[in-house]
């Protein structure tokens, strides 16, 4: 079970509060967690990554265990703490503004 923290707007869209939990077969990677989120919450398709290119949206970032995974290859394995459910995988809307 993987814990995922969504940004506020996407929690509203998915009609959830707090963290969400998804199951991923095998060692979780960035892409397998994203696939699982979109399978559980289809309304999020296209909001985290582009429908066609599957590239991360420019103002969306990924964090886990205080490390930035945004620029890592999508098949990068996530830390053990995330795989075991001790730490969440964070999907963050980049801060903007003054």
């Amino acid at each position: 079970m993987i814990r995922v923290l969504l940004p506020a707007h996407l929690k509203t869209l998915a009609r959830v509060s707090g963290e969400v939990q998804v199951d991923v077969a095998g060692r979780p990677t960035i892409v397998s967690v994203l696939d699982a989120i979109e399978a559980s919450y289809p309304m999020l398709q296209g909001t985290i990554r582009d429908h066609v290119t599957q590239e991360r949206r420019p103002f969306v970032r990924f964090f886990a265990c205080e490390e930035d995974y945004s620029l890592e290859p999508v098949d990068t394995a996530l830390p053990d703490a995330v795989a075991k459910g001790n730490e969440p995988f964070l999907i963050v809307g980049a801060m903007a503004g003054g």
Binding site: Q45, G46, T47
Partner: protein, 371 residues
């Protein structure tokens, strides 16, 4: 009991305003989708409780929301807008080829007869259609792949398809307008398109009378007379009496003929409305006086409508989709401003009242007449 429902899209959410036929007291619900840019909301003529809304942000992209109960509840539907085939390139601001890339939905136009069919005008300019209530979207590629497509340039706000008009008499005829490619017409339900810009003159482009390249801001039609079109171009207010085959200028005595919205009285197809804006570099009313101009002659002869509108220190704009009319007797007319005001007139523009003062900047206003 008859009444009016206003669908107001703003930079930070949507608002739904309802009134009885007197149009003196308004109930306000919202913000719906708070924090999101709501470029446009529109109801189905075939089922007024079926609403569609374009929701987007720079962070999370495009969403389409649908309501089946007049905006009480909403559900996200399909947001996958993929160009048909290899998109190719259009011209960029610097004159170099630039790949076509989807950015957002500017305008939603529900079918006149089928609540599940809706058209979407998008940036970069293309026309999409859904026939299943917004779940799936398919491009009508004949427009984007018109031979002139590679030469289209974006306007300052992006290369957006912002106007879609469905002809109520000729079932397969539709009109669109693109900034800054111009106006186009299809006579075969969107399969093929022809530019309809003859008579337009735009001094800001290399060939001022070119077939394409004009910055059309908005087109309006009266449903009883679909061969007559009115256009607010970047500069110039124009009229066509032959379905866009030719245009003539009807700016007449307007104090400035720059502006964004244009609309037609619900019961008099020769009565039209514009909101003159000082210039393309100063997007606010002349002398700080917010004035709607009305022509009862289909153009050329205009009168300022000022009662109830601020006549000093007003420096807002009215965007292209932010004016609408109802079809009650007498005709109601509404517009929203970039300053967050929504103004209403229940007497065809003679007198105005602000319904709301302090919304986020208004992007769109659509009036639904409820019977």
């Amino acid at each position: 009991m008859s009444g009016v429902r206003l669908l107001v899209g703003t930079r930070k959410g949507a608002f739904i305003l309802t009134s009885d036929a007197k149009r003196t007291r308004w109930d306000v619900s919202g913000p719906h989708f708070p924090g999101w840019e709501m470029y446009h909301l529109k109801g189905s003529p075939a089922d007024p409780n079926r609403l569609y809304a374009s929701q987007s942000t720079g962070w999370f992209g495009q969403l389409i929301q649908r309501s089946n109960d007049g905006g009480k509840t909403w559900e996200p539907v399909g947001n996958k807008f993929v160009y048909d085939g290899e998109p190719g390139t259009h011209m960029w601001y610097d004159g170099t080829p630039h790949p076509w890339k989807f950015a957002r939905v500017w305008h939603l136009e529900p079918s006149l007869t089928d609540p599940d069919t809706v058209y979407a005008g998008v940036e970069d300019a293309a026309l999409f259609r859904s026939t299943d209530g917004g779940k799936n979207w398919e491009e009508l590629p004949g427009l984007r792949t018109h031979s002139s497509g590679p030469s289209w340039h974006p306007g300052a706000g992006g290369m957006c398809l912002h106007t879609i008009i469905l002809d109520p008499k000729h079932r397969d005829r539709m009109f669109v307008a693109i900034s800054a490619a111009g106006a186009f017409r299809s006579d075969d339900a969107g399969k093929t398109w022809k530019p309809i810009n003859r008579g337009l003159k735009s001094d800001g482009i290399p060939n001022p009378t070119a077939d394409v390249g004009h910055c059309v801001h908005r087109i309006a039609m009266h449903k009883s007379r679909p061969d007559v079109l009115f256009m607010q171009k970047h500069w110039d207010v124009m009229r066509s009496d032959d379905s866009g085959d030719s245009w003539k200028e009807v700016s007449g005595n307007l104090p400035t003929d720059f502006g964004f919205p244009i609309d037609v009285h619900a019961h008099d197809p020769e009565t039209i409305y514009v909101v003159p804006i000082k210039s393309d570099s100063e997007h606010f009313p002349i002398d700080g006086k917010l004035r709607v101009y009305r022509s009862k002659a289909g153009g050329d002869e205009w009168e300022p409508l000022t009662k109830g509108l601020p006549q000093r220190d007003c420096y807002v704009n009215v965007l292209r989709d932010a004016m609408s009319v109802d079809s009650l007797d007498s005709c109601g007319i509404y517009f929203g401003t970039t300053g967050g005001q929504v103004y209403a007139s229940a007497d065809a523009g003679d007198n105005w009242t602000p319904i709301l003062h302090d919304l986020p900047g208004v992007l769109s206003v659509e009036a639904q007449t409820l019977q």
